[in-house]
Amino acid sequence: MSQMHRRQLLRAAGVSISLPFFPSLGIRSASANQRSPADAPKKRMVCIGNMLGFHPEAYWPAAAADDSMTGLNEYRDFELNRTTAPLQTVRNRLTMIGGLDHGTSGGHFSIHSFLSGVRQIDAKSMPDANVTIDQYAADHVAGLTRFSTLTIGSESGIHGGCQLSWTRTGTRVPPVPGPEQLFKLLFEGTSEQDKRAVADRFKFQGSILDMVKGDADRFQKQLNQQDRDKLDEYLTSVRDVERRIGLRRNWLDVPKPDAPFAAPKNRNMVEDLPLLYDLIALALQTDSTRIATLEIGGDFNPRDLGVNGDYHALSHHGQLEDRIEALITLETYQIEQFVRFIDKLSKLEEGGQPLIDQTMVLFGSGMGNANSHTNTNLPVLLAGGGFKHGRMLAFDRQSKHRPPLTNLFVSMLQQFGIETDHFATSTGTLRGLA
């Protein structure tokens, strides 16, 4: 019965959309020598996290003998497990990563640190607080797209839901609650009045920048050579901001893309999940954003899949078989929808290249095993983005040299085009990924 129900859902939600690709804005950087994100090839990032992880026994491929001295085994011919079986059709587009975590504990509270590696309670002691990878990357591409990032999810669920996105100030990015609101953001035009207010603000900021350039120029005569180099830093910043404002101002006049279908209404997370993925794909395809984050949280209600029980309660299955079966049904559904998303990104093209090759997709959870409330050995999948795929990287959990999961984030940020060699607790890039 539940199978049947699910198939109906997919048909209903699986709208196929093809849009002409959004014309590039063709904006050149202010200074020809300065390489800026605007000139670089487009990179995109999608992070997806669920609230309760995956039942490990049904998720992980059967363990092979650890025969490495390095604490890392790379497998190509691994057999997928029950929950992960749907990955078969896209397995060459992704890498399964096992054995990593953030070294934190805290049960459900650690879900919040899945994308940061830093618990909220430790945020104060970190230079960039508990900033998450999506928000960190967003700072880098601010102004290039209409939205520098979109976070979609819900507040409900134990301890306030997934809470996946955090800024460098240690505050949470409030999520767009559902397809209805996301659709509005992506396709509905801004009122003339709002547009005028924003345009006025840009104009004002532009005149401030003109004025301060004058102030800086008059400053020069007081400075010796090393001071001048410092002031150049300021002047370069002024030019950089002018460029960013220019980009943003352009977005004001660019009409939003046409809506590919009628505005949807929010239903429930189970039914909305495929639609949310479709809207994210559209957001990327129309270059409305380069970065999206999806929280699959506590409002994911098993009943909508025809399964009895509460998601959180089921995750504490206590080894009862029927509960585990129910849980596997939910989890398989989540994997299937992820596969559908990857498939979709593979079929969309930009510049003769599948969109998936420019889009790195991270899928996983801050929960390793919800039944025992552990945050170790997190389920992590990395798809697309131009990485080498079709394999499993299994890190030895006992190894002293096991890297933190944040090393994966450093690798992702570098692939995204950001020159950084660290992120939160990282010790380098992720071994074996390149």
Partner: protein, 835 residues
């Protein structure tokens, strides 16, 4: 690739230049070249055979290595050679081997050369580089410039963290400006000015009463509904819990907070319950000997949910709550628009979530029979909250009213308008006034013209005169004249102007812009007069404004800013979290330094004092709880140590925590910390390939034995003998500064705090080490003086500054270096007035 800090590495193998406890620092003058003959001969004899350009098997070539070229590349190559030789990895086994003496001499010469090169490449030539306000300076400055209350307003919260150089956050060359930061400046200026000019009409006073429907966090709802139908707000956990439950009591249906900035009166009808709880301490993890303290911390739904920790939540007020008897408590607290008060149990339980289960495990008999069979956290919670004896603060009613004592127009408005309201006729004059304050010197006509152009442009855009005025103030706050400290008037000048001196003095001693009387002296051109400067320094030092100096200087000098970046294991150090020890540890060190300033006492007290300032949490940590009464637990008291083991800075929990790594101590890390911050001898990093020691507290191996092992290597020992002993002296203190005699819980591995300094002086523990340090007090005094100068000038103190540093010290050496006099001597020194 940036080389990571190797603080976790227990092996360091480079010679420390001119350092060491026993040898006086011998600084070579800048021009002098080091002899490298032995090193060059060594390379020629043992290395160049393979490492030539035409032999690829050597992978690197040393023929072109030029010892007088400072380039980074040379430094990296030399460092690599030193590392390989220290490890004994080179020359390879099958090649000719140098004698140990040859090897050590070559290593020594090369490391000295590298250190010298490094100093030269980062040198700013004994001058401060044009520097912008640091994040903390910006925040303090806008508070004073606009007369706004900064308790819960932080316009810098989105600024990127400032780069640190030797722990200092105010070095001009290290402080960078980026496009990202400039965008944040634009946003911050907007927020600050809008806040300063609001509200537009006199605020009305309101009263809100809350006496039912106290719905707290979701997890508690079922239990609170069953137990008392939300009639009370009940607080259990202390606010710093990892998984706070009942730690923050929000006001029901008051999520949008107060409507306007102001002082509000909060009346709370409350009682403390179950301070006589029958549960043992392991179950409820709380100190029942202290009266329960109710706190008020602000919360804003824009910053996070109201029942969890938020990024801005200073403790606004606190009171001890009477046991059992219901009583009204009245507080006056500042609240910014949008913030609501939240109620906290400041010395509450640690982990009430675990306590539910522990009550079932340890005290089942205290529960009614029909609930004893419960299982799972939900049933445990429901039962224990309804029938148990959890220590708690129970609030029955809350009355919030305000704003009270409103000033209208506000102080900010009167300051910006120079009157009760904005008069567009006076716009040019008001802009000149504001810019001259913001820029900390008279604004030039061109600058004022620029601001006026903004004003008129905004009028032309259709903005109201007041809005246009606000916009031009925002523009001033993005000008380099506001963001950067004033350099001398001409590029050829070395001496600062009077306004430059005033600015330097105020950012040194008050961490903010000059106050009106200092500014007046600058305007009158009187600060070049050393007597005037001296009396201004004394005035500021004696005022509360210099508390910011004490706090910021200690953060930079002792790296106390890093406190908290290596949090200890919550299991072993519950106290650390339960008591919120971090700020208290800092407070101890601040009060200690403040006291030295007030008494103008000797800086040597930093090393030898047998007293300190502690509250009850710290007293408990130090094992002297009897010296601080339970009913004055939150106050800091001056205490004297009977036992000389703990004393001076080296006994402060702040220092002991920041020089450990949180989880375990390391004599190497603490030793290096002492070398750098107390003795002023920088320690070069260890070779990259040396693995960190793995602390092993299970068996018979102590860290001393592990270190002894690798000290058998002559190359390693060359450095380790200099700092390991210093660290050993402090091994009697655990990672958060508690005394200990054994490493392990089973008391098998005894701690040995004795050591031998490189010159042969022996000590048995911290007390004797302190005496040996006092015998070499010049090192400490010079370190402290250099750090004070660094903080004042915003730059590194280099070897060419040595004569100036010595002249400062000479002025105060007679009376054992009184601290206030030393600080004043820094201000009146020739360096202070120079670029």
């Amino acid at each position: 690739m940036i080389r990571p800090l190797r603080t976790n590495c227990l092996v360091a193998c480079m010679t420390v230049i001119g350092s060491l406890v026993l040898v006086p620092l011998c600084h070579t003058s800048q021009a002098e070249e080091l002899p490298n003959e032995a090193a060059k001969a060594f390379l020629n004899k043992y290395c160049v055979d393979c490492h030539t350009a035409d032999d690829p098997s050597g992978e690197r070539e040393f023929e072109t290595l030029n010892f007088s070229d400072d380039h980074w590349d040379t430094q990296l190559r030399l460092q690599e050679i030193v590392d390989q030789m220290s490890l004994g990895a080179m020359p390879p086994e099958n090649a000719d081997q140098p004698t140990t003496k040859e090897r050590l001499l070559a290593i020594k010469q090369m490391t000295q050369t590298i250190s010298k090169m490094r100093e030269r490449t980062i040198s700013t030539g004994g001058q401060s580089v044009l520097r912008r306000l640091s994040r903390r300076e910006y925040r303090n400055t806008v508070g004073d410039l606009l007369a706004i209350d900064m308790t819960m307003f932080d316009p810098t919260i989105e600024f990127p963290a400032d780069n640190l150089a030797n722990h200092f956050d105010n070095f001009g060359d290290a402080l960078v400006t980026s496009g990202y930061l400039l965008e944040k400046y634009l946003e911050a200026a907007d927020r600050c000015i809008e806040k300063a000019v609001a509200p537009q009409s006199p605020p009305e006073t309101n009263e809100w009463v809350f006496n039912s429907g106290f719905i707290q966090q979701q997890e508690l709802s079922r239990a609170h509904q069953r137990a008392f139908d939300f009639k009370y707000m009940v607080l259990y956990d202390h606010p710093l819990n990892e998984k706070p439950e009942g730690a923050y009591g929000p006001l029901p249906k008051f999520n949008s907070g107060v409507p306007v900035d102001g002082i509000y009166e909060v009346k709370v009808l409350a009682q403390a319950l179950h301070r006589d709880s029958p549960y043992n301490e392991a179950t409820i993890a709380i100190d029942l000997s202290e009266p329960f303290r109710l706190g008020i911390r602000p919360g804003d739904t824009a910053n996070g949910d109201m029942v969890h920790t938020q990024p801005i939540q200073p403790l606004l007020a606190e009171a001890a709550i009477k046991d059992n008897d219901l009583e009204w408590y009245t507080f006056r607290v500042p609240l910014d628009k949008g913030f609501a008060p939240r109620f906290t149990f400041e010395n509450g339980m640690h982990d009430v979530r675990g306590a539910y289960q522990r009550v079932f495990r340890n005290h089942k008999d205290t529960l009614p029979e029909d609930v004893r069979r419960g299982s799972g956290i939900v049933e445990f919670r429901n039962a224990v909250i309804k029938y148990g004896y959890l220590p708690q603060i129970r609030i029955h009613e809350i009355r919030l009213s305000g704003p009270i004592e409103t000033e209208w127009p506000t102080r900010s408005q009167r300051l910006l308008f120079d009157g009760d309201s904005f008069d567009p006729e006076r716009a040019p004059e008001l802009l000149r006034r504001f810019a001259s304050r913001a820029y900390r010197r008279p604004a030039t006509s061109e600058e004022v013209a620029g601001l006026l152009a903004i004003y008129e442009g905004r009028l032309a855009d259709g903005r109201s005169p007041l809005d246009a005025f606000k916009d031009s103030l925002k523009a001033a706050m993005c000008s380099p004249s506001f963001l950067y400290l004033s350099p001398p008037d001409d590029s050829q000048d070395v001496k600062l102007s009077d306004h430059g001196i005033a600015e330097r003095l105020s950012y040194f001693l008050t961490s903010t812009m000059p106050d009106p009387s200092l500014r007046r002296l600058a305007d009158e051109g009187k600060l070049s007069n050393v007597d005037v400067l001296r009396s201004e320094a004394r005035r500021l030092l004696n005022s509360d404004a210099s508390d910011a100096f004490v706090a910021d200087f200690l953060d930079s000098w002792l790296n106390l800013r890093a406190l908290g970046s290596m949090p200890p294991d919550p299991k072993d150090s519950r106290q650390y979290y339960a008591a919120g020890l971090e700020p208290e540890m800092k407070q101890e060190t601040r009060l200690f330094m403040r006291d030295l300033i007030t008494r103008n006492a000797s800086v040597l007290e930093f090393l030898r004092a047998d007293y300190s300032f502690v509250n009850r949490d710290l007293a408990k940590l130090y094992g002297i709880a009897d010296q601080v009464p339970a009913d004055q637990a939150a106050d800091f008291h001056r205490v004297r140590y009977a036992n000389a083991e703990r004393g001076g800075l080296l006994g402060h929990a702040s220092v002991l925590t920041v020089s450990a790594n949180g989880i375990d101590t390391s004599p190497v890390i603490r030793g290096i910390w002492l070398m750098e911050n107390i003795l002023g001898s920088p320690v070069p990093p260890p070779p990259d390939e040396v693995p960190a020691l793995d602390p092993d507290v299970r068996g018979a191996v102590s860290i001393r034995e592990q270190l002894a092992k690798h000290s058998e290597s002559a190359a390693c020992n060359q450095c380790h003998r200099k700092f390991d002993p210093l660290g050993f002296a402090l091994e009697g203190f655990d990672p958060i500064g508690r005394k200990r005699a054994f490493y392990d819980a089973k008391r098998n591995i005894k701690i040995d705090t004795s050591g031998v300094l490189p010159g042969g002086d022996r000590f048995s523990g911290p007390e004797e080490l302190r005496s040996l340090l006092l015998e070499r007090k010049e090192f400490f005094v010079r370190t402290l003086t250099s750090r004070l100068l660094s903080h004042a000038l915003g730059r590194r103190i280099e070897s060419l500054d040595r004569p100036a540093v010595d002249r400062i010290i000479a002025q105060v050496s007679e009376d054992e270096y009184p601290l206030a006099d030393l600080i004043v001597a820094v201000v009146t020194s020739e360096l202070f007035q120079k670029r």
